[in-house]
Amino acid sequence: MKPSFSVIVFTVLAGAGYGLWAWLGLALGMGVYATGISALMLPLAVGFVLAGAGLLASTAHLGKPWRAWRGLTQWKSSWLSREAVLALASFVPALMLAAMRHLARDTLAVRGTGLLLAMLALATIYCTARIYSSLKPIDAWRLPQVVAGYLLLGLASGAVWLWQCLSINLRDRMDTIAPVTHAGWLTGLALLVLLAGLVKRSYWRQLDAINARPAVADAGAATGLDRFGVVRPLEAPASEPAYLMREMGYVLARRHRQPLRRLAMTASFVLPLFAAGVAALVPAAEAWLAPLALLSVMGGLFMERWLFFAEARHRVAAYFPAA
């Protein structure tokens, strides 16, 4: 599949934004979140920018962006529509929390709205994943790691953003969170990043296993002519590749997958894991470890998402002569 820049930006930024809101909402709902107005407002605003930028980027992928509102109507059948509805609905509890910034953190209103934000944000990421995992012609996206991966990558990158927000916020007031709890949060973050990395590794392994098998979707299967023998495409319908092959016949990534995967793995998971681990042991280093982890995970996820699209094979390519 052609890795379209707008869709990559959308899935990475929106994933991180809704992941950040999910953690913020969950911590508020459970009543374990830091006190202070800026501790609430900064992650809310960052999530607002990330989610908003992601959604704007997604409209750049549309042929008719100004009609995007129509995408909100078919939530009964379409995961894309569900995603759009939930993505916008998440802004409601986020804005409500901003309005309630002066309320005490343990009031029912704040905790309830926090939980609502967490649920809507999580559901948004889930729907984004289902847009891709529901497409039967793309074997790579039918793997169970796709939904789990999207959720974990969104939550992991969101957690790194929350860490960065809190580390800015708490730099001068470290005492508002007890050191043990702080180390506990960072250990949790490290475990989350580790889990996301393991799921991604297992996705890539299973993808290689799929690609190593004789292709199920060859020209013979696609045309139904395999009952007569081995089918080989002689001629494409036109001299120039048209929409289908431009969109779905992308082969570049499968040629260079190994170095790209190693790079994505290191940047998305290994480095942030290391940073969170060190920060848990050496709180003084947090001021530069958090931004390092953040830059690394976001850069890594752009690569990871580029590979997610570029490595996936669409069955329709079977009709055409190999590129």
Binding site: H61, G63, R70, S77, I131, P214, F228, V231, E235, A242
Partner: protein, 278 residues
């Protein structure tokens, strides 16, 4: 609405005879011509007079070489067929197309107007829909936002996005011809069917077992593309008929005791023998 309508009684679709299609692309050209000016056009091209012209076609003709299962070792074919649970060499009787050196099959590909298509249900806007009355799958160009998810959801490559129009386009089964009362009744057929010089394309109601197309499908063993994917395509392809197998025919049709070596004959008689053996 992108929710699918209840299963329709009428299932309009095409039956394409791969045995007699000669790959002339007349169907594709006629389709492009009609639909460029029809209710669902235009079918724009990108860079039409440039070095790499390409654009939207609802119908495209591929050509394939089918190398027989028997002959030069059947490993390749068995591998291909085993992956789908088809035993090509076992299911091929002596007079099947596989008993000859090979086939060239021209394969027109267009929307199959599936009964349970994902291209309709994934649409976030309701632009992509399946008609309840006859099962035709259409795109409402006034609602389409051009997200292209429907094209990703179609394994048959039926949908093509027009970057110039910003919307998705696809075969309409010439819905603006087949119900068009300003045309002669004989002309109320899809443009591709009207244009086919070998009559390899047929249009009709595949939901009615008594219709001409349904009977053709029953008689010729017409098949659906990749039914295992579960979209229930309506269109059917009629497989290539058994081919004559060159000199093997003479050996099969002539009684064994009358066998003779045609190469012993004088040249004119040898030609006559070859002519009559056809």
């Amino acid at each position: 609405m992108t929710a699918l309508p209840p299963p329709a009684k009428v299932k309009l679709g095409l039956v394409i005879d791969l045995d007699i299609c000669v790959g002339c692309h007349a169907c594709a050209v006629a389709c492009k011509e009609w639909n460029d000016g029809g209710d669902f056009g235009p079918l724009l091209d990108d860079d039409p007079y440039g070095a790499e012209p390409h654009g939207v076609w609802f119908n495209r003709v591929h050509s394939y070489a089918v190398e027989p299962a028997l002959g030069i070792g059947n490993t390749g074919c068995e591998k291909a067929s085993a992956a789908r649970g088809i035993n090509a060499s076992a299911s091929a009787p002596a007079d099947s197309p596989t008993s000859n050196p090979g086939l060239t099959v021209h394969f027109p590909r267009s929307c199959l107007h599936c009964e349970t298509p994902d291209c309709v249900t994934v649409c976030p806007t309701g632009a992509s829909y399946k008609r309840a009355e006859d099962g035709i799958v259409l795109v409402d160009a006034d609602k389409c936002i051009g997200c292209q998810l429907c094209a990703w959801a179609c394994p048959y490559g039926a949908r093509e996005f027009s970057a110039k129009r910003g919307t998705m386009q696809k075969c309409t089964l010439c819905v603006d011809r087949i119900y068009n009362e300003t045309l002669d009744e004989a002309d109320r057929q899809p443009a591709c069917v009207m244009a086919c010089p070998t009559r390899a394309r047929h249009f009709g109601d595949l939901g009615d077992p008594a219709s001409a197309v349904s009977q053709q499908v029953a008689a010729r063993g017409g098949y659906a593309l990749e039914p295992e994917l579960g979209y229930q395509p309506v269109n059917r392809y009629l497989p290539p008929r058994p081919r004559r197998a060159g000199t093997a025919v003479a050996a099969v049709t002539a009684p064994a005791d009358e066998a003779f070596d045609a190469n012993q004959l004088p040249t004119p008689l040898r030609w006559l023998d070859r002519l009559l053996s056809r």
